[in-house]
Symmetry: C2
Subunit: 375 residues, 2 copies
């Protein structure tokens, strides 16, 4: 599933009609990495899409939470989680200038997110898809409903971007491929969260996704067998993970023996996914010797919570994304609830933190249309 798409569509001047719309004025200087103007490299394929007619007047989309990093899968492996995520309502809006985008409303973010579409993860992804589709004749407005807490390690920004990218693609009759939508989402992640596709790819594609390379972006979907049971216990403490410290905690170099160990665990993790071996999956996910030992101590009580999870029967436990949410793995929902309770108790006991536990399945579908209104 190699992706070598670059849109040849030139960036168009862009300003909102709505005077209340907070947006900077230097749109022409904005650079989009994955959905930009001229194609220079021989390896990039030129795809010119005639401007599509909208199929719907409005659509509502959903994109799931994601667990990235996954222990030894650090920075290249993530999966989508069923039943929690963000919603986008997207409308063809005659009050928005053609070819342009308005974020009309954001719910569930406690006022923390900007409505500037060029600095909002949903806005950037939506606008990138508009560019890919060469949308010039209609204006769009989006409303974002956050179902995910910000900065929790559950791929909150990716879920917003994924829902937005899918919404725009759907309202114009699904002209773009999944891979192109991931590129639009990666544009957003790069600007807002960091240059990594291990949240956005599974949020759009569902299931487990391995990011094989970025240049060109190449994604490998890893299908966990439907007939096997897998439950994630997600425990989110009331704690803001210190992002800078989390990044700084990563070592610039790793020893050869740790490298070989983590590499073999990454291989074992991929094998466990494809073989539907939830026990092996938990074990591999729990075996990181490079990142978790350094980031773990930055989450109060982490070690004790992991211990509690394993003692309660979890197959494995690690940090979800950059934390502070921890993820444990089991193959029974009821056991998952017990593990969650033990982890919540341990967070209080060991880290003096309140925490909330959820037991979730894999989301094999990814970002999708929830409802639509035909024109």
């Amino acid at each position: 599933m190699a992706i070598t798409y670059q849109s040849p569509i030139k960036f168009n001047n862009f300003s909102p009609i709505s005077p209340s719309y907070p947006i900077s004025n230097n749109f022409t200087n904005l650079k989009f990495r994955f959905c930009p103007s001229p194609v220079s490299s021989k390896t990039h394929t030129h795809i010119t899409i005639p401007e599509p007619e909208p199929v719907f007047t409005s659509v509502k989309s959903f994109a799931p939470a994601t667990i990235a990093n996954l222990g030894p899968g650090f920075d290249f492996l993530g999966c989508a989680v069923d039943g929690i995520g963000d919603f986008i309502t997207l409308k063809i809006d005659p009050n928005v200038r053609p070819g342009q985008l308005l974020i009309s409303n954001i719910n569930g973010d406690n006022g923390r997110l900007t409505k500037d579409p060029l600095h909002n993860c949903a806005g950037i992804a939506a606008f990138c898809v508009m560019k890919m589709l060469n949308v010039q004749s209609v204006g769009l407005s989006i409303s974002l409903e956050k179902g995910l807490p910000l900065g929790s390690g559950l791929g909150s920004s990716a879920a917003s971007a994924a829902a937005a990218a899918v919404a725009v693609n759907e309202i114009f009759g699904r002209k773009l491929s999944v891979d192109q939508l991931v590129l639009a989402g990666l544009e957003s992640e790069t600007k807002v969260s960091g240059y990594h596709a291990d949240n956005i790819a599974p949020s759009i594609m569902g299931g487990f996704v391995l990011v094989r390379s970025y240049d060109p972006l190449e994604l490998i979907p890893l299908k966990f067998p439907y007939d096997k049971d897998l439950f994630f216990v997600l425990v989110n403490p009331e704690f803001e993970a210190p992002t800078k410290k989390m990044r700084a905690a990563l070592p610039p170099e790793v020893t050869m023996s740790h490298h070989i160990w983590n590499c073999s665990q990454a291989g074992a993790l991929v094998a466990a996914i494809l073989q539907g071996d939830s026990r092996g999956l938990g074990k591999a996910l729990s075996s990181d010797k490079i990142v978790e030992p350094r980031r773990g101590p930055l989450i109060p009580g982490m070690e004790g919570v992991k211990k509690a999870a394993l003692e309660a029967g979890a197959f494995g436990c690690t940090i979800s994304g950059a934390g502070p949410t921890l993820v444990a793995v089991t193959d029974e929902e009821e056991k998952g609830r017990e593990i969650g309770e033990r982890m919540v108790e341990a967070f209080m006991k060991e880290g003096n933190l309140k925490a909330l536990a959820m037991v979730k399945k894999l989301d094999p579908v990814g970002a999708r249309l929830v409802s639509s209104n035909l024109r």
Copy 2:
């Protein structure tokens, strides 16, 4: 497939009857790591096997060549190659003192291997299995027929050990598990070649095997789908790889970015194997940024030969084991022969080395009985 076996059988004094048999006298001081005497750790399971009766008077076994390291699978991933390997003929020998072992003959080694069973890879593995089986009442003699060149990167020592371990197990009615045989082979590898299971495990088990951990030894068989085509082009130049330099070339540390890259490629490699994607397999195998760039330059012409392989249509190419054999991957036998020819030419042109090419399939079976004579 966790292995926690340790034989509780005590090491027995051991000396050959044959006066021509070159063997040291301090057998009692010999230490066997995986098939030794008392069990100390709680994690090890005590298995006491009553001494079995031999089922055959003689057996002949075969064990295949193996490709270890496999690019980003360095040190934990290997596979067995069909149609080349070593043979062992094993006999119940009334001229050998009960409980003891004689290497009566070695062919195809140009006189380079010792017949001392405690320093010969086949001997060590065979003797380890005898200990595991608690063989005390009969003596055994083995004859080794080398089909593999020594020090070529094709798992020569592992093939001898695998064939020997299997032969002893078969002659006594197959009492040990595959995992135990791997442990016996690992005993041999540790003493002769180095503490790594990525040759011995696939030589015994067949197919691809991922070594997940050593303590306890845990092996994950990775099944390449039978209905998919995969051919290895093995090109062996007339060149002795400088083992010490090859080892010294490994960096003590790797950068975080190279670690993440190789880890993701290892994951992609495992995925390609399980998904039967020979193209992806070749690509992943060819993508190592850590070991190959350092070991490659020690094999004259390596870079040019790899280039020639890729230009001839190989999906990927890397060093087999610690070299000097190079392995390329394709999905057609005829194309494999062409790739091999180009690689041989390039070895001469770029490295001034004569080389021999073979096109081989995966061996999904591993070490096995070839013939036997009932008692």
